[in-house]
């Protein structure tokens, strides 16, 4: 199955020791394997507190979700050091996947129960308000970005309600068929802005959504090499795991 493609890529895993709440590692494994099966060399760099990194050298960035406590630990480091450089690179088209806490940190602000506002980086024109209940459960959604009739499946577990503005043409990543999505109200799930994705489908969102994994890889290859073509993979279990969720939870 290994093709002979030498277009190497560099993936940055941001705060892997702090933002690792729910199987976020599954996304890294998925990107690694899908590159390996195609003969694309992919290196993963773990960048955490106090590390210095030039995001201009990166091809792909992943930020997972974290608990409230651990997000507090990285807040300053992200605001002052990595965040602004990351935003600059993402504005210039760096592909990025941010999940749950990572998604919130890239928005304009997070407003807590007590009305306190924690500023985000404002990369996504989106804001989050703490909710009184957690939105938990399986999600089935439609994601036209990934192609005609393509779906997105996953699991959400968040108390924040995120709302999207319209600056720069930010769009929801998907429309929920089952589940709550960004805020439980407008059916939107996640966000797409330039080549950056934010989503509440936590942890291992990529394994069961290979089209999303390949969308990110294709954007990265296009940006670095001007050619985003990817050899198709068989995706047997990827597809059956995806379909099983869609079948079980979307029919209700």
């Amino acid at each position: 199955m290994v093709q002979n493609d030498r277009r190497a890529l560099r993936l940055v895993h941001l705060y892997p020791d702090l933002l690792n709440l729910y199987g976020d590692r599954g996304n890294i494994i998925t990107l690694l394997r899908r590159c390996q099966w195609r003969g694309i060399p992919l290196t993963v760099e773990r960048v955490s507190l106090h590390d210095r990194f030039a995001f201009a050298d990166a091809d792909l960035v992943f930020m997972g979700g974290g608990s409230d406590r651990e997000q507090t630990l990285l807040f300053q480091d992200f605001q002052q050091h990595k965040g602004p450089a990351l935003v600059e690179a993402a504005e210039a088209g760096l592909p990025l996947l941010s999940v749950c806490g990572g998604y919130q940190l890239l928005g304009r602000y997070y407003r807590t129960h007590t009305g306190e506002e924690m500023p985000g980086l404002g990369f996504f024109d989106a804001w989050t308000e703490a909710g009184s209940t957690r939105l938990i459960g399986n999600v089935v959604a439609e994601a036209p970005l990934l192609g005609e009739g393509m779906g997105l499946v996953g699991f959400e577990n968040h108390s924040g309600r995120t709302f999207l503005g319209d600056r720069g043409g930010i769009q929801p990543l998907a429309q929920v068929i089952a589940g709550q999505g960004n805020n439980g109200k407008d059916k939107g799930e996640g966000a797409v802005y330039k080549n950056a994705i934010g989503t509440y489908l936590h942890g291992p969102v990529l394994p069961k959504n290979p089209a999303l994994a390949d969308w990110l890889l294709a954007r990265a290859l296009e940006r670095r090499y001007g050619d985003g073509s990817l050899t198709p993979l068989a995706d047997r279990w990827e597809q059956s795991a995806h379909d099983a969720v869609a079948r079980r939870f979307a029919s209700r």
């Binding site: 020791d17 702090l18 690792n20 709440l21 729910y22 199987g23 976020d24 590692r25 599954g26 494994i29 998925t30 394997r33 608990s67 409230d68 406590r69 651990e70 507090t72 630990l73 957690r134 938990i136 459960g137 399986n138 699991f155 577990n157 108390s159 936590h202 942890g203 291992p204 394994p207 069961k208 068989a234 047997r236 279990w237 990827e238 059956s240 795991a241 099983a244 079980r248």
Partner: protein
């Protein structure tokens, strides 16, 4: 004795429900308790108050069932009688059901002691209803985050339950888990710590699935001299001074013997003794230590403690050996969260030789609806035994997710089979297993119950509520 008619009505309804659910082939492990409580909300308190020498409560993420059963063996070896939710139903309904079963028709509990395994979310309520003599906290790992939200909340929940303990009670805490030991920092009552001093196993480097490397008290990085697994090890915080407490009950001279178990020396203020444990898995040494600490608190004689551990055989799906014919071997090992699963995989890969694997993943409420943890678990650790795997199959509600996980861990997609029906998957796997081969069945909690029923229908294992 129960004198109130309402209490008796609750008791009898529960007893009838236990009888009925068993007649129709279920374990009857929690529904009867829930029913009894609906009729008489004070039932558990009234029954538990009759225990002559009180109750010991065991909580934490991993090792609750094993620690409880080891303690139960020690108590049995002391010729004391016991009420114990031994089928592992550890929510308030299941615990009440165990007491209902243990009570006479008139509502008397004749047991000397109670051993109660309890879910972390249930412990605040349990401590109010059963005022225990002690609480053992084994460890904290991510498990069922769809119920708890975040691990920090689970830790805080247990911490608040400890604060409500009666003054004569004691907290028995794992010194090696900084998340557990941190709750001892503000606890006002008596604490007994247990831990492993021997550094012949483990490593200087942190493994994949540690929950934190930051101090829970001040947020600064913890410095580790040694890791055993996950975040368990010898640690300190150079910022606030929090450090692994020196354990009063500790272990040295560990010798691991693969699937045959382990040997080690336990040190306590009462003396030191050598233990031979037939239950495999490094983590079971922690369980044996926790049970020993609880037994010492209950003033059990050293002889009974030793006899209890010596006589302990893994059961109820904790690396449980199944009786098969023709020299074939099979093990049933519960997996339900990353660290527990990693430890099972570590034991499995210690055995070299032809093997087969069946992983059964459900996402019912008792398993956790969220199966993200499959990606935190280190199935990549199977790499050295991949050439020895003669077949790999998955089953259960999330069997296709499991097949996908194994594909990304290096099992060829074409080499995998998925059979949705658990009993058919087990029958097929047993059928396939030849002489000199070992079959490993790895189920989640509700899948374990299904597997047990399927195995007993095939004539391989006792019904779980009879164990």
């Amino acid at each position: 004795m129960l004198h109130s008619p309402r209490m008796l009505a609750g008791l009898w309804a529960g007893k009838t429900a236990i009888w009925l659910t068993r007649r129709i082939g279920h374990g009857g492990t929690s529904f009867p308790g829930g029913l009894g409580r609906r009729i008489a909300p004070g039932l558990l308190s009234a029954l538990a108050a009759q225990l002559k020498q009180g109750a010991m409560v065991i909580t934490g993420t991993n090792g609750k069932t094993t620690t409880s059963k080891m303690l139960a063996e020690m108590i049995a070896a002391s010729k004391l009688t016991l009420t114990h939710n031994r089928a592992g139903a550890n929510l308030v309904g299941g615990i009440t059901a165990a007491f209902i079963e243990s009570a006479s028709v008139g509502g008397s509990i004749a047991s000397d002691l109670g051993v109660i395994e309890v879910d972390e979310a249930t412990i605040p309520q349990l401590v109010r209803e059963v005022r225990p003599k002690g609480v053992v906290v084994t460890n904290f790992f991510r498990d069922q985050l769809d119920r708890f939200g975040e691990l920090d909340k689970t830790v805080t929940l247990v911490e608040s339950a400890l604060a409500a303990l009666p003054p004569q009670s004691v907290a028995i805490l794992n010194a090696d888990d900084p998340l557990v030991a941190s709750i001892g920092r503000h606890y006002k009552g008596r604490i007994v710590y247990f831990g492993i001093d021997d550094r012949s196993y483990g490593s200087r480097e942190m493994t994949q699935s540690a929950e934190t490397r930051f101090c829970r008290l001040c947020g600064h990085p913890l410095v580790y001299d040694w890791f055993f697994f996950g975040q368990l090890g010898h640690y300190r915080c150079d910022h606030c001074g929090f450090a692994r407490p020196q354990p009063k009950i500790h272990v040295s001279q560990i010798e691991l013997k693969g699937e045959d178990g382990s040997a080690f020396t336990v040190h306590a203020p009462q003396g030191s003794w050598r233990v031979e444990l037939s239950t495999p898995g490094f983590y079971n040494i922690y369980n044996a230590l926790a049970a020993t600490a609880a037994a010492l608190r209950l003033d059990l004689p050293e002889r009974s403690i030793q006899a209890g551990l010596q006589g302990y055989r893994t059961n109820f799906g904790r690396m449980e050996r199944l009786e098969l014919d023709g020299g074939r071997r099979a093990f049933l090992a519960l997996i339900k969260n990353p660290t527990g699963c990693d430890e099972v995989l570590r034991t499995l890969t210690q055995n070299r030789g032809p093997k087969r694997l069946l992983v059964i993943i459900n996402d019912n409420a008792a398993d956790g609806r969220d199966i993200s943890w499959l990606w935190d678990a280190d199935f990549e650790a199977l790499a050295p035994v991949l050439p020895e795997l003669r077949s790999v199959a998955t089953s259960g509600l999330r069997g296709e997710d499991m097949a996908l996980r194994l594909t990304y861990a290096g099992v060829a997609a074409d080499a995998l089979t998925y059979e949705p029906d658990v009993s058919q998957a087990i029958a097929a796997a047993l059928e396939m297993t030849g002489p000199d081969e070992t079959l490993y069945i790895l189920p989640t909690y509700t899948a374990l119950l299904e597997a047990k029923t399927a195995l007993s229908n095939l004539g391989h294992s006792p019904r779980y509520w009879e164990e």
